[in-house]
């Protein structure tokens, strides 16, 4: 199948590498998203789709849609068609709990998923792949379970509705109906295929090989009999970062053979690191990222000292030429998080033509991020262990489509 050719990982360092475990641009430059879309075979999310979302949900599309942060999709149109006809769908997203320190890049898919939940009024399942991190990052089972619960708190703080959201950790939930589906999926994927898609080799332990089906089948409603009994044809929409595409290509491949609908995807680009090097923010370099635990002072400091500026070296030169908006990180961050389109346009214009200085842009960014982080912290402080238990309880959600 075509899938095989496109899926082979480019091990050549002169090509960009994007897979669930590694993201690196070509020759240390920028990620070429157009090429990625071509290579993966997904589609661009264009303006007509965004307008359609606006009409269907009767509210302004989320800032991430307007600014092209979520820029690619598979079958999103079909999901919208079905929605218009009255056929609902459910959302599925997840997190690999590898560290306690969550940064803004981690929050992006959750912020977007929360918007989707509110706008379309649909339920959501969130998978915490503690087993994956236990295997790939060599954490102990206890540690990965603990991190899963800690991360769950930050996820809940993003504002998900407990009457419409089910959070589960693989170590807790895998078994039963889930396991039956896992086996069904696993039967459809040959070893060679898995190695081709995920780059496994003879050196990798067999735990890794058996993981992809675990991430695959939350896409199938029959994996959640307490939530979707009898609704085997319910469609699934998966908001995720584009590096997760390989898992779901495999899933989409397998779905028709099992008699399930193919899950639809809506994919985001990567949130750049503060210093703008390479592909994405990394939890291992504290200065590359703004964490949800950073204080206002730390945020101000990090932005002032580490955010890569596209401004010119001297004020005179800057006023003459203007800033290089292509590489400027503060403007990029503002395009992610500053909701007001008019203000962003104004900043881009003034800064790009040299009338606004880097300091001002950084100051505005510090304000926006500080407000966000503080709001998150306040919400996080209110998440109790009972709340986590409630979100993670295997229970029906009677008002999930309201």
């Amino acid at each position: 199948m075509d899938v095989d050719k496109k899926d082979s990982i480019a091990s050549d360092s002169s090509e960009q590498v994007v897979n669930p475990w590694e993201v690196a641009a070509k020759d240390g430059g920028k990620i070429d998203y157009d090429k990625l879309i071509d290579q993966f075979g997904c589609q661009r999310l264009d303006d007509s789709l965004i307008d359609r979302v606006q009409r269907l949900t009767s509210r302004q599309p989320h800032v991430f849609l307007r600014r092209g942060v979520f820029f690619a999709h598979r079958d999103f149109n079909d999901v919208l068609d079905a929605y218009e006809r009255g056929d609902k769908f459910y959302l599925y997203t997840g997190r690999g709990p590898s560290s306690e320190a969550l940064h803004l890049g981690h929050l992006i898919p959750f912020m977007f998923t929360k918007y989707l939940q509110e706008a379309f009024k649909v339920p959501l399942v969130i998978q915490l792949t503690d087993d994956e991190k236990c295997m790939w990052k060599n954490l102990s089972v206890e540690e990965s379970q603990r991190l899963a619960r800690e991360n769950a708190k930050d996820i809940i703080a993003c504002g998900f509705d407990v009457t419409k959201t089910f959070i589960f950790s693989d170590f807790d939930y895998v078994g039963g109906a889930f396991y039956k589906n896992m086996v069904k999926v696993a039967k459809c994927v040959t070893l060679n295929k898995a190695m081709g898609i995920f780059g496994f080799s003879g050196e990798d332990h067999i735990g890794k090989l058996s993981f992809p089906p675990v991430q695959a089948f939350p896409s199938f409603p029959s994996s959640f009999p307490h939530l979707f009994p009898g609704k085997d044809k319910l469609r699934c929409l998966i908001p995720c970062a584009i590096d997760q595409d390989p898992y779901f290509r495999m899933t989409r491949d397998v779905a028709p053979r099992l008699g399930y609908s193919k899950p639809a995807l809506i994919e985001s680009s990567f949130f750049p690191a503060l210093q703008a090097k390479n592909g994405k923010m990394s939890a291992s370099d504290p200065n590359s990222a703004i964490y949800v635990t950073d204080t206002a002072k730390e945020i101000k400091n990090k932005i002032n000292r580490y955010a890569f500026s596209g401004g010119q070296d001297s004020i005179e030169k800057h006023r003459e030429i203007g800033a290089n908006l292509e590489v400027d990180i503060p403007v990029k961050y503002l395009s992610f998080f500053l909701d007001d389109d008019t203000e962003l346009e104004h900043i881009k214009k003034e800064y790009g033509e040299g009338r606004m200085l880097t300091g001002e842009v950084k100051k505005r960014l510090t304000e926006v991020l500080t407000e966000m982080v503080e709001r998150h912290r306040m919400a996080r402080a209110a998440v109790t262990d009972e709340m986590v238990d409630a979100f993670m309880a295997v229970r029906p959600l009677p008002s999930m489509f309201e």
């Binding site: 509110e118 809940i156 703080a157 504002g159 998900f160 509705d161 407990v162 009457t163 204080t295 206002a296 002072k297 500080t370 503080e374 709001r375 912290r377 306040m378 919400a379 402080a381 209110a382 109790t384 009972e386 709340m387 238990d389 409630a390 979100f391 309880a393």
Partner: protein, 307 residues
């Protein structure tokens, strides 16, 4: 309301901080104070209550002969040349809860002053004793800076001593050296009724009520040191209907006060919708989640009905 002087003095005694007390008629200026408290008892201090353009407040406490250049101070704080000025009288009573002529480092003991930055003259450290008002201008106390430090520590503050007469260059490669002492949070102090728009037709009592929620809502804004207090009050907002409503009204009135000048009512209503919808929805969802979780927990603990 705020700490009283007796309360403060009792606290100093509890902490075993050594001080000497001098009572005198109320004094409004350092010159007057000098008449009653001689310099042999200790070094007199002058205390300035300052505010910057972003509604952040500072107490600068200095030796009387230390020259405090406001322009230089403003630059060193990273506020530009004219960024700082004397705070208005209402801020004195709202935030420091002391009267005119009574600004003192001890004022930071009040909750309402939690976001006020306290800057102390490093020359105090060379003195055996320094003299401050203990929240009332009819008493002065003298104590050693170590005593002051101990007190500040007891309320979770670090003592910040700076060379107030220094005039370092501040420029592109020399960041303002005092910028780190700028408070993370600004404070909204509503103006007195006599001054502004129609919303302030209320009497002073009502505006005092309005400001109380501002003061008590501040715990829910995050300040560096007192994390557990923050978490407790964050929890309360989502559990307690009154606190929830208070939080919503605080945010709404704050927005009204900052945006409601001269705009027509329709435009204002639009601004409100735009700015507050997502924030309030977020609050409401957390409220709902809290209620559900409590119910869920109760469900796990409840006994089955007797047949």
């Amino acid at each position: 309301m705020g700490f009283s002087k007796d309360h403060l003095l009792a606290r100093l005694q509890e902490l075993q901080i050594d001080y000497s007390k001098y009572e005198h008629p109320p004094v409004l200026t350092v010159e007057e104070q000098a008449k009653y408290v001689s310099s042999s008892e200790g070094a007199l201090s002058k205390n300035l209550f300052l505010k910057d353009k972003k509604n952040r407040y500072y107490i600068v406490s200095a030796m009387t002969d230390t020259k405090v250049d406001m322009k230089v101070l403003s630059q060193r704080l990273g506020l530009g040349k004219g960024g700082i000025r004397m705070a208005p009288e209402e801020a004195l009573s709202e935030l420091l809860q002391v009267s005119l002529g009574c600004v003192t480092p001890f004022a930071v003991v009040n909750e309402s002053a939690r976001d006020v930055s306290l800057l102390l003259d490093q020359k105090f450290k060379n003195q055996t004793r320094c003299i401050f008002h203990p929240l009332s201008n009819d008493v002065s106390i003298s104590l050693n800076t170590l005593g002051l430090d101990k007190f500040l520590q007891s309320i979770g503050r670090d003592s910040v001593y700076i060379d107030l007469e220094a005039n370092p260059v501040v420029g592109k490669d020399q960041p303002p050296d005092l910028a780190v002492y700028v408070p993370s949070n600004s404070v909204v102090v509503p103006e007195l009724p006599t001054k502004t728009a129609s919303i302030q037709t209320a009497s002073k009592n009502v505006s005092a009520e309005k400001t109380k929620p501002v003061a008590s809502a501040k715990p829910s804004k995050l300040a560096g040191n007192v994390k557990s207090a923050v978490e407790d009050s964050a929890l309360l907002v989502f559990k307690n209907p009154e606190k929830f409503v208070e939080e919503i009204l605080d945010k709404t009135t704050a927005l009204l006060l900052s945006e409601g000048k001269g705009e027509n009512v329709e435009a204002l209503a639009e601004t409100f919708r735009k700015r507050l919808t997502s924030e309030f929805t977020h609050l409401a969802v957390m409220y709902k989640n809290t209620a559900y979780s409590q119910g869920f927990y109760a469900g796990t603990q409840s006994q089955p009905k007797r047949p």
